[in-house]
Symmetry: C2
Subunit: 362 residues, 2 copies
């Protein structure tokens, strides 16, 4: 079949909307009609060539949800018509790490632009095109592995719950799975983009009582308040350490979440955390970057990026949204058709949006 997809032909160039070819589903493939696809900071890393395991040409996009259109002969987990969120860490499902609930450590299914069987699916003429994160969400359809499909309830709006596939799950995982925030905790979040805002809303859900949001964009700080921040700090004009000292009676926060991934902000997060507290580095710093920390290490520092913090949580998060306990509508600053993808990246770079959701079939 033919479909439209946004292809990155080389790093640092605009995406081009191409008519590409998809084969019929293989025995274990699932064809998904994409309804909504979030534009995330990790897609920016792909555009800038900062994720060395992805070669161009590739279809970016990894935060998508849709409806199963067709399945291969051996697929049992989903059926035609099922609503699914596409999960970007499928894992092989059979190794010790996957059995332990840690597909992010699966040695058998890494990131390369290929699917679970090591082969790509998309073609333009004779040229093979990769799919980011086993998905390639900036397209009308995705041909994915069975384990990439997470079946969800059918009354949830796919153009909203697509966000659960990456940003929301990462916020949840960082706060509940990685940091284990307890009621009454004090917390700091450095960076209020799409992921940082989710960290804030799950801190609120975890009943943290002091949630300090730090950014340099006033609009993001306003959104941080909407998501549950009790205090906001504009780091362009206020000293973060002073602000934390004042808000925590000089003790420091129990938990600091660093959602920018620079050495300077990781160090800053460490400094303002109390002894015995925890610094959770949510993003992924560039390869080779080093951070200097006091060797006493009186605070726990943990990271690994989204792949080290998320997973296994998706249908439950849909339920939380439908129950009014998780905010998604507030995160969607704008919807655009597929050919608005480059404008969406421009908005993201300028700090004008938390998330744009692409609607490939409009």
């Amino acid at each position: 079949m033919q479909m439209r997809a946004a292809v990155l032909w080389e790093p640092h160039s605009p995406l081009r909307i191409e008519s590409v070819t998809l084969p019929d589903p293989g025995p274990r493939d699932v064809l998904v009609r994409i309804v909504g696809s979030g534009v995330c900071g990790s897609d920016v890393h792909v555009l800038h060539g900062q994720l060395p395991f992805y070669d161009c040409p590739i279809v970016p996009g990894h935060e998508a949800a849709g409806v199963v259109e067709a399945i291969g002969s051996e697929v049992t987990a989903v059926a035609t018509g099922d609503h699914v969120i596409l999960g970007w860490i499928p894992g092989c499902g059979s190794c010790q790490s996957c059995w332990d609930g840690h597909p992010e450590r699966c040695p058998n299914l890494g990131f390369s632009g290929a699917l679970y069987d090591g082969r790509t699916r998309i073609r333009v003429g004779d040229e093979a095109i990769g799919s980011m994160a086993h998905i390639g969400g900036f397209a009308e359809y995705a041909l994915v592995g069975e384990r990439t499909c997470i079946k969800i309830r059918e009354d949830a709006p796919l153009e909203r719950v697509c966000l659960i596939g990456c940003g929301v799950a990462t916020g949840y995982g960082s706060v509940f799975l990685r940091a284990g925030v307890q009621p009454g905790a004090t917390a700091l979040v450095i960076g209020c983009g799409g992921v940082g805002l989710n960290v804030i809303q799950f801190l609120d859900l975890a009943a943290a009582t002091t949630i300090i949001a730090v950014d340099v964009h006033p609009a993001k700080l306003e959104l941080a308040r909407t998501m549950g921040a009790t205090h906001v700090v504009d780091a362009s004009s206020v000293d973060v350490a002073d602000a934390v000292r004042e808000l925590t009676a000089g003790v420091g926060v129990d938990h600091a979440f660093e959602v920018i991934s620079t050495a300077a902000t990781i160090r800053q997060a460490y400094e303002v955390t109390r002894p015995g507290g925890q610094v959770t580095v949510v993003g992924v710093a560039p390869p080779g970057e080093e951070v200097s920390l006091p060797a006493t290490l009186r605070k726990t520092v943990t990271g690994g990026g989204p792949a080290g913090t998320q997973w296994g949580v998706t249908p439950m998060l849909v339920d939380l949204y439908m129950a009014g306990k998780v905010k998604l509508d507030e995160l969607v600053s704008r919807e655009r058709p597929l050919d608005g993808v480059n404008d969406a990246f421009a908005d993201l770079a300028a700090g004008r949006v938390a998330r744009t959701v692409l609607l490939p079939h409009t």
Copy 2:
């Protein structure tokens, strides 16, 4: 009353055995006749003036056990004749941290050489002498706060279970409370002194299946095998990274325990841990020392020294020893009378002993 105690009059000088004065127990004081007192690396830090919260003159020693000789009028937790291990993190018992089971974070009861009420007890003439860690274990008696006393069963040999007060509890806390080692784990321990050997024995108790011990003293590596190491690496002649690679099929260990506390060995521990694994820094690095780590932080790094890893475990550890599940006899290289304390430090510095136990009444 008069008693003999080993007093540090100034840093870097030998301890002097003095006849010192103890007052009668105050209302909340407990007088303990010390039966056994371990000589630990933290005492060395006091001797070298590396713990800035301790002023000289002071009686070192913080790993002691004995028998309650007398109690103050308001003491209810112990009675005369009770056998006790002295705990070096009493906490105030009333603040949020203490209620949470984290006396090591108690803001009300720090380390200063004074007892819970901010006053010292020991005198030489008119001069006030501090007690290390609310204890001052290198003496015939200790006048301590009620919360310093941990009552234990009376059939356990006090000259052995005294080790539980610091080194053994720290090994237990590091492996079970801080790192949460699971059966089948692979682990590395850098530094096989009194604490490192305990980390090894609790890794064995936790059913870690690969336990790699690293040191530069062959005698310590031999003892490491006795305590449960499955492999030993002499870092003076073997490359640690190569050895770990070979023993873990190139993956790295699940857990690295750093029990030396230098930036170089912390970095080494980080390097040989697998992504998603955990580095536990058991010791306390000197103030001001920095460690450089990859900012991706794909591994959890946690520390805080013994105060960040131990606590609340003492009577259970005595039961484990009596049940043959925890080794103490193997850790005691030598017993000495109180006036052998300087020789014990010389043995420790030369790597000749795991632990010396002082017997102040022999």
